[in-house]
């Protein structure tokens, strides 16, 4: 998507030197636009863990590139056995960075399987490069298609609004900054906006890390989409007033039966949508399905540093500063995700179309995963 009129993706290979991965270091947005060069798997693991990059698809793509960097590093090994051992270590290191996002393990495993097909180190490195590019390109294409399918939902609502804005509420950032491009939840919104539909987005700020205020608001503003930032507690009130026509969120992991793990607080918005008859959709590329589980309770929920809750991290006088919001000695807890049960989900928007959030409907779109 565009930043100040210039086309960007969130992660790419340096065109002058394909051994360097470049990514937007999102920690400084919306205040500073920083591009980071990443040349080792340790750097990439750190970038994922410390959230220089974040979001389901982008974590997957970053892990794919991370495995490619690991292959380059392993290329200095004396033997293929040593190469494989080093690569397995790298895979474990990457998988350990973020427990909830399924794209992470999906990308690492895809790389591991493909790299195993190479006989020599140069062959393995070439396969890792090709797979990393494929993962990123697929992510981009799947998000583009999600935008196309989701557009129909918005067009449908637009017909009953008589030219008045279509109000879409979203939580956290499932925009292009969370993927390689386009985004999941925001893809239909960008597509509708580009077609001239009057879309307006309610942006949940998404404490404690403010991905809504910092990232979603910024990328919508860069693309010229009307939006309003709200505290995370506001969505229910807006739905009660009739000011939300549609909720679209992303997903970090969705079970084969349609239970949705997403940023903490998604469940509360789904409850409010149900209570007010507002359609609640989850947009996700198929890489965010966990085909191995049915019940959302099996999804591990990441707990992060309590400092994120007890402090706020923002911009002042040209730098990022932390301010304390709480008594120094008060305990805090920081659950990163929750699970929205499928009964609260109106539908899933995938690259293959829209379906209900139940196993039968999901497998109709993805029959290759019927067991």
């Amino acid at each position: 998507m565009n930043i100040g009129g210039q086309r960007f993706r969130t992660i790419w290979l340096n065109p002058a030197n394909e051994q360097i991965v470049q990514l937007i270091d999102q920690r400084f947005l919306p205040h500073q636009f920083v591009i980071e060069d990443v040349t080792t798997v340790a750097q990439m693991a750190n970038a994922i863990r410390e959230m220089h990059v974040r979001g389901a698809g982008l974590i997957g793509a970053s892990a794919g590139y991370g495995m490619y960097l690991a292959a380059i590093e392993a290329g200095a090994s004396a033997t293929i056995a040593e190469f494989d051992r080093q690569l397995a270590d790298a895979a474990a290191q990457l998988k350990a960075t973020r427990p909830t996002a399924v794209n992470l393990s999906w990308a690492v495993e895809r790389q591991t399987a493909n790299i195993a097909n190479g006989k020599t180190a140069p062959e393995k490195i070439a396969l890792a490069l090709r797979t990393a590019k494929e993962i990123a390109a697929e992510d981009e294409e799947h998000c583009r298609l999600i935008g196309q399918h989701g557009l129909h939902l918005i067009e449908q609502i637009a017909r009953s609004k008589n030219g008045k804005p279509i109000n879409v509420l979203t939580h956290c950032n499932a925009g292009w900054l969370a993927f390689v491009d386009y985004g999941s939840a925001l893809a239909p919104i960008y597509t509708a906006h580009d077609r001239g539909l009057p879309v307006h987005v309610w942006v949940d700020e998404t404490r404690p890390r403010s991905q809504g205020s910092k990232l979603t608001a910024w990328e919508l503003a860069q693309h010229g989409v009307p939006h309003t930032i709200i505290a995370d507690s506001v969505g229910g009130h807006l739905m009660q007033r009739g000011d939300v026509d549609l909720v679209i969120v992303g997903s970090d992991r969705t079970t084969r039966a349609g239970d949705v793990a997403n940023k903490i607080g998604t469940y509360l918005k789904a409850l409010a949508a149900k209570d007010n008859n507002v359609p609640f959709y989850v947009a996700l590329p198929s890489a965010s399905f966990d085909w191995s589980i049915r019940d959302g309770n099996e999804i591990p929920i990441e707990q992060r540093s309590v400092d994120e809750v007890k402090r706020a991290h923002g911009w002042r006088d040209g730098q990022m500063l932390e301010v304390s919001l709480a008594p120094e000695n008060s305990p805090a807890a920081n659950y990163g995700f929750d699970v929205t049960p499928r009964r609260l989900v109106t539908g899933l928007i995938t690259e293959r179309g829209i379906c209900k959030a139940d196993e039968k409907s999901i497998l109709k779109l993805f029959p290759e995963h019927a067991s």
Copy 2:
């Protein structure tokens, strides 16, 4: 309640000079403990509007003292007509500070009616002083009684927990800092804690102003009550996990039929409580009932500065600082309250006992308001 072992109320008359109202300026908590002297109604209106004082009961008590200060100021008038005109102006000024809290207009109207019984300025001032003291004393006593009635709920739950902590979730600050003393939602918790019951409180941080992190956590810590601060989005997840036994919140205005206006986000917690069979109670002294309306939709919802949403206000290097969380040009909205419909409320805890959230049950406790 206690601050560092010393007994405090939130507002009082300077014992050496009863023309000076003293209050805890809550803007600097938990980092600094500041006592403010207030000697004019304009100062008091500012203290309410800018939230030096906040919370249903404390707004009422502050308005009561504000009318007393107004009477002192009006005492310099040449005629009683001029006195009355000045007092009416002061009443309007105070009422305009915060639109949602009903205790505000209730206290101002009680003062206006009582002061009208005085024939001379000195008589009117004496009546204003007496009424201000009565309002504060009643608030304190009603909160103490709410603690007694609410204790039974917690004792009931304790019986099924076999000595394990009773986990109570609360939103915003409805503790003693929101009243003259004891609090509404926290009164049962303090009472249970003082009786030796193992209570643990989940403290919603309550964006955008962080009254949970800054005030609730601080007053619980000062009193030694175990607690954990969480982002506002976390409560639903905790209820899904079975980690919440009871929700108790306060109310800024409750209709005669039991619809509850409270801090924005309360409605979402009530939905989650319903979805997980967690009892959801609202604690309020009768001064927070608006007997004139049935339907919660009639309650005006305050909108505050969007800067509260786009920024965070916290402590760093010995001072309060604001940091920016969002793009400078992104719009924001800041609704201060929402309405929880009575169907989601398990019960109301009042100074006269606990009742269901319906008009018949409420009027059984408060028959003088049956119309």
